[in-house]
């Protein structure tokens, strides 16, 4: 027999909230980006699981996951460019040194 869909959803939930935890507690721009990637990844798992278990004939979740991976790649490239630029200007990527971005 196959693995029940709920098992995959539980795994995705755990991964997502580990990402949320990291996003709230880490104080470093690259760590924040790593946490965001964890969350995005959990959502991608959910899309694929709902496609496979609920509507296997339509492939909508399949393509959502694929486009999600592509958009995550684009987002990461721009975010890392921004982080490197911030490091070049502020000599640090720690959150507490980036107060100037607030106003």
């Amino acid at each position: 027999m196959i693995v029940p869909a709920e098992f995959y959803l539980i795994l995705a939930t755990i991964l997502f909230f580990i990402g949320v935890f990291g996003f709230f507690t880490r104080r470093n721009l690259i760590s924040l980006l790593v946490s965001t990637e964890l969350m995005l990844n959990a959502v991608d798992i959910n899309f694929a699981v709902f496609n496979a278990y609920s509507h296997p004939e339509q492939l909508e979740g399949f393509f959502f996951t694929m486009f999600g991976i592509g958009i995550a790649a684009a987002e990461t490239a721009v975010a890392i460019a921004i982080i490197i630029n911030v490091f070049r200007n502020a000599k640090s990527i720690h959150i507490k040194n980036l107060r100037n971005l607030k106003h």
Binding site: V3, T25, S54, I69, I80, A81
Partner: protein, 170 residues
């Protein structure tokens, strides 16, 4: 019956591996280690896609995520160097607030999933043939995605230009 236990066992091993690596990725103090643990999680996700018989998706996951994005992360961590050590969390207060938020959110979501009763019993171990993926990506009918595909290519082009503009020296 034998197949059942094998599938569940593989899933359990994969899930344990991914959850451990994800937790290590958000708690370790060194950036290179965090990125490496993230790589483990991404490989585990590819394993999940293989378990769902979405082999093309698993291949995309390994090539784009584990191959491309992690290289970007490692590149950034090495460029930034000494500044990447995330010494400690700012305050105990913030740490426990984050812990409380994520644990309560996780409990609520898990409760909803367990009691939700999704009608998710149509799973077949057929997978998706490559020809179906190709025609759906390039077709213009219902449930075809040529417009999304083209918009995504424009987005990637814009991202490349934007990343070069942002990161270049003045």
């Amino acid at each position: 019956m034998e197949l059942l236990s094998t599938n569940i066992l593989i899933f359990a091993a994969l899930a344990l591996f991914m959850a451990t690596a994800a937790f290590a990725a958000v708690t370790t103090s060194r950036m290179m280690r965090a990125v490496t643990y993230l790589l483990f999680v991404l490989f585990g996700t590819a394993g999940i896609y293989f378990m769902l018989h979405y082999t093309f998706l698993g291949a995309v996951q390994i090539i784009v995520y584990a191959g491309g994005i992690v290289v970007l992360f490692i590149f950034a961590a090495l460029l930034i160097g000494k500044g990447t050590i995330d010494v400690t969390h700012t305050s105990k207060m913030r740490y426990f607030a984050g812990l409380l938020t994520s644990v309560s959110g996780m409990l609520i979501t898990l409760y909803l999933i367990v009691t939700g009763g999704f009608s998710t019993d149509k799973f077949t171990a057929d997978g998706v043939p490559m020809k179906v993926v190709g025609t759906a990506l390039m077709g213009t009918d219902k449930h075809n995605y040529v417009l999304t595909f083209e918009v995504l290519s424009i987005l990637l082009l814009a991202c490349m230009v934007g990343a070069i503009m942002i990161a270049r020296k003045k």
